[in-house]
Amino acid sequence: MSNIPADLLYSKSHEWVRVDGDTVTIGITDHAQEELGDVVYASLPTVGRVLSAEDVFGTVESVKAVSDLYSPLSGEVVEVNSALEDDQTAINGDPYGAAWMLKLRLTDASQLSALMNADAYRTEIGE
């Protein structure tokens, strides 16, 4: 069973979202890292980049595949976890903690309602 914290929101493309006022923190889920296998590289956007919902904001490369990362929400990148570019092991080891990827300042908070809660995400991934 994947770890799916109850206090987060989830996208169909397996990103998690932690809401803190008008800023959200985004990463990839425990299920996503499990499916990818050992991640060997992560490419993240630069601070200041403006993303629309469903834009590709980066890529993760594992020993099995390369996957694009999709922003679940629209906003401006205000912070990036650049430590991940040098050491990706947290993506497998601590996907909801040390492996947070970026922080967005939302431009359209109403998009949050389109995301799933933990129960819906668990159903989505068939657990």
Binding site: Y41, S43, T46, V56, T59, E61, V66, D68
Partner: protein, 445 residues
């Protein structure tokens, strides 16, 4: 299957489809003077083998080849010495006949040769990483400029006015559909070096050719400093032969180094095929185009080689790949590897030094004969002289004396870009001066 691949009817259908009348019409873009340079009229539609061979040998003997003529023509393709061991290794069938030999299970020899090539190119350029090579120096430069735009997220690049016209043309072809704008940095008309004080924060990179199209050595350190001030990168297209004596671009802080590697053990042929070099700082390795071979270990723990960082490439990443090149110029990369290995550090430095010394000897003798250099900047093996007559006329006189003259400059028909490699003898250099001096004295009408 029939021996003839296409019937007359099929040919007519294909010609009609593309809107030309006959096969000959496919070659109309070749300039008339080039078409007229050789007489092909004796080659009728069909000839027996022996007659055909005899006719072709006779025709090719009329061509001015580099074995029987002293070459003063350069401009990107150079008549450097090729030690026989280069051909001996490259012509081995394991290397010569293999195509896309990248499978680590069966191609350790080729992969190791590519790994050695990369190691040699990084050492030569002073950069951290090199790819497995590219088609030629022009496409390598275009890819470098695109990579710089990707890395900086900027959409304008600065090309020098004294960039080789062919390099510029290829870069323009690559950039136009991407919507990347080109600005041009002026050339100092006296020294011949590029004026680099015009960079802005819109510019992804400044490109310099080292030495530039006119043979003048650019100040790479100054370009790097100016680029850093606006957060831009420095991209250099280098003549690798000059790196036997010049400071490496890596030591000067250049971000991406590309170059035409033909001079490293590859034939000038008819201007190709060529060998593209591509090296950069390690932090950019995820954005590098083309193949990269890495050192690894096999299941028994022995040293082994395999392609690495494959996820940059088009067959995996499709439209988000860093480039559409999924190959390398393996045979010529091997030639460069053998060449650099057999020359060694000392030999390569000597060849480089000889180019410098001989070209400076010729330039001094020409100046004494009344043929001044157009630019005052320092030069390596090529320089521009202003002649008293059109260069095409002078080159005819040179050819009569078994010498291939320099390139007439596109913007000045009396200016000749003269190239002197380590292969030129003092006798050849003196004969060259004699022919040009006769034009100065007005002995030739």
């Amino acid at each position: 299957m029939s021996y003839l691949p296409n019937t007359d009817a099929e040919r007519a259908k294909m010609l009609a489809a593309i809107g030309v009348n006959n096969i000959k019409d496919l070659f109309v873009h070749i300039p008339q003077e080039v078409q007229d340079a050789a007489d092909f009229s004796s080659l009728t539609d069909s000839l027996d083998d022996m007659t055909l061979q005899r006719k072709l040998i006779t025709m090719s003997s009329n061509a001015a080849d580099l074995n029987s003529n002293a070459c003063f023509l350069g401009a990107g393709i150079y008549d450097h010495y090729i030690p026989p061991v280069v051909g001996a290794v490259c012509n081995r069938s394991e290397f010569y006949t293999a195509y896309t030999p990248y499978q680590p299970e069966v191609s350790q020899g080729v992969l190791q040769s590519i790994y050695e090539f990369q190691s040699l190119i990084t050492r030569l350029t002073g950069m951290d990483v090199s790819n497995a090579s590219m088609y030629d120096g022009a496409t390598a430069l275009a890819e470098a400029v695109i990579m710089s735009c990707d890395l900086t997220k900027r959409r304008t690049v600065v090309l020098p006015a004294n960039l080789h016209p062919s390099l510029r043309s290829v870069v323009e072809t690559y950039l136009e559909p991407l919507g990347i704008a080109i600005r041009t940095a002026a050339q100092n008309p006296v020294t011949g070096v590029t004026e680099i004080d015009t960079l802005t924060e819109e510019d992804a990179c400044i490109v310099l050719q080292q030495p530039n199209f006119h043979g003048v050595i650019e100040d790479l350190g100054a370009a790097v400093a100016a680029a850093k001030l606006v957060g831009a990168q420095t991209v250099v297209s280098v003549d690798p032969m000059s790196l036997g004596i010049l400071e490496t671009p890596g030591a000067l802080g250049v971000d991406i180094v590309v170059g035409e590697g033909q001079g490293l053990g590859c034939f000038p042929a008819f201007g190709g095929p060529l060998l593209g070099l591509f090296a950069c700082k390690k932090e950019y390795i995820r954005r590098i185009p083309g193949r990269i071979v890495g050192g690894s270990v096999d299941t028994s723990g022995r040293r082994a080689y395999t392609m690495t960082l494959r996820t940059r490439e088009q067959d995996i990443r499709r439209d988000t790949a860093t480039s559409n090149i999924c190959t390398n110029q393996a045979l010529f990369a091997l030639a460069a590897t053998v060449y650099l290995s057999v020359m060694g550090t000392q030999g390569f430095k000597q060849a480089s030094t000889l180019c410098l010394q001989k070209s400076h000897y010729l330039a001094a003798r020409l100046a004494d004969a009344g043929l001044p250099q157009r630019f005052s900047g320092p030069f390596f093996k090529e320089f521009v002289i202003t002649c008293p007559a059109p260069v095409v006329d002078i080159n005819k006189a040179l050819l009569e004396k078994k010498m291939i003259g320099g390139l007439p400059l596109p913007d000045a028909p009396n200016d000749m870009l003269v190239c002197v490699t380590e292969q030129r003898t003092k006798e050849e250099l003196d004969s060259f001066v004699d022919v040009l001096a006769s034009f100065v004295k007005g002995e030739v009408a």
